[in-house]
């Protein structure tokens, strides 16, 4: 249990600092809503039509692809830190992980998932 003390202390301090900043700025900050200020910012023009509800599907696919490869990189951080103790086993493990995602990447690239149109 002892080794989790420092990480939890770090989490608590982070929460406290962020919470304090947010609370102070909402409480102390002046609030002065005016009709023009509430309008969305359109480079100075009064917007005529509201934001479009429906977006092309391309945005969604690219966002998903990004998530997949971003999470892959997130897994590498703890692996990189603990590579010393893991030794050869860790290296082979991560290589397999990267190869699997590499195949997926090549497939997506081939199918043209990365281009826009």
């Amino acid at each position: 249990m002892a080794e989790y003390f420092y990480i939890s202390l770090f989490a608590v301090v982070a929460l406290v600092v962020v919470g304090a900043l947010l609370a102070l700025s909402t409480v102390l900050g002046p609030r002065n809503p005016s009709p023009q200020k509430m309008l969305p910012y359109e480079c100075g023009i009064i917007p005529t039509e509201e934001a479009k509800g429906r977006y092309p599907v391309r945005f969604a696919t690219i966002a998903m692809l990004f998530i997949i490869f971003d999470v892959e990189v997130v897994f590498m951080y703890p692996w990189a830190v603990a590579l010393g103790e893991l030794g050869l086993f860790g290296l082979v493990e991560m290589a397999i992980f990267i190869i699997i995602l590499g195949i997926a990447y090549v497939y997506i690239w081939g199918r043209g998932g990365l281009e826009w149109d």
Binding site: V27, L28, G29, P30, R31, N32, S34, Q36, K37, L39, Y41, G44, I45, I46
Partner: protein, 194 residues
């Protein structure tokens, strides 16, 4: 006999001046509150600290209209370096800016947009009217130019020149900082936020 009328006239003008000044001071007192702790907590001492913080982080909104915009860019560059005074970060959207440098001539078609951008800036906000065209129409006194930005937005500092050199604009920014420091903690600062 002309002398007496002149004297009476100037005296009456003086009285008129005083009446206007008195009206201003009264108006300054009963401002409506910003509806937050901001007014009650900010005594003079803490107000000074807030003013010091605001003074040293004036983020200008890029409102480059004409020739003065080029000199404004020169001010933000390495030779004149507005970063020494905290005014280097040019925010594109008015939401994150608290200083609007109106640099260039404002035409009739642009005036409502200038007003819209100024309204969309969060309080407290300041305006520097850079150049003769923004301050009083400059050399263009015709149908298309708004003769002075103070018809559209309340201006804090006027920078003369056509275009004013980057050092003149920096002097304007410094003058604005002095004004912020002088206003900090007083009723004027609270009125500016209300």
């Amino acid at each position: 006999m002309g002398l007496i009328e002149d004297a009476a006239e100037t005296f009456e003008a003086e009285v008129n001046n005083l009446r206007l000044n008195v009206k201003d001071t009264i108006e300054a007192l009963d401002h409506e509150y910003a509806g937050s702790l901001y007014d009650t907590v900010l005594t003079t001492r803490l107000g000074k600290v807030v003013g010091w913080a605001q003074k040293n982080a004036l983020w200008p909104a890029t409102f480059g209209l004409a020739c003065c915009a080029i000199e404004m860019m020169a001010m933000a560059n390495s030779r004149w370096d507005a970063a020494r005074f905290g005014a280097e970060v040019f925010r594109a959207s008015p939401r994150q800016a608290d200083l609007m440098i109106v640099s260039g001539r404002v035409s009739q078609k642009m005036a409502p947009i200038l007003k819209q951008i100024f309204d969309q800036m969060p309080e407290p906000k300041w305006v520097i009217s850079m150049g003769a065209c923004a301050s009083c129409g400059g050399v263009f006194n015709n149908y298309s130019i708004v003769q002075g930005v103070d018809r559209v937005v309340p201006v804090d500092v006027y920078v003369p020149g056509c275009p004013p050199g980057p050092e003149a604009l920096l002097y304007g920014v410094i003058k604005l900082q002095e004004k912020i420091m002088a206003e900090a903690g007083t009723d004027k600062a609270k009125k500016r936020v209300a």
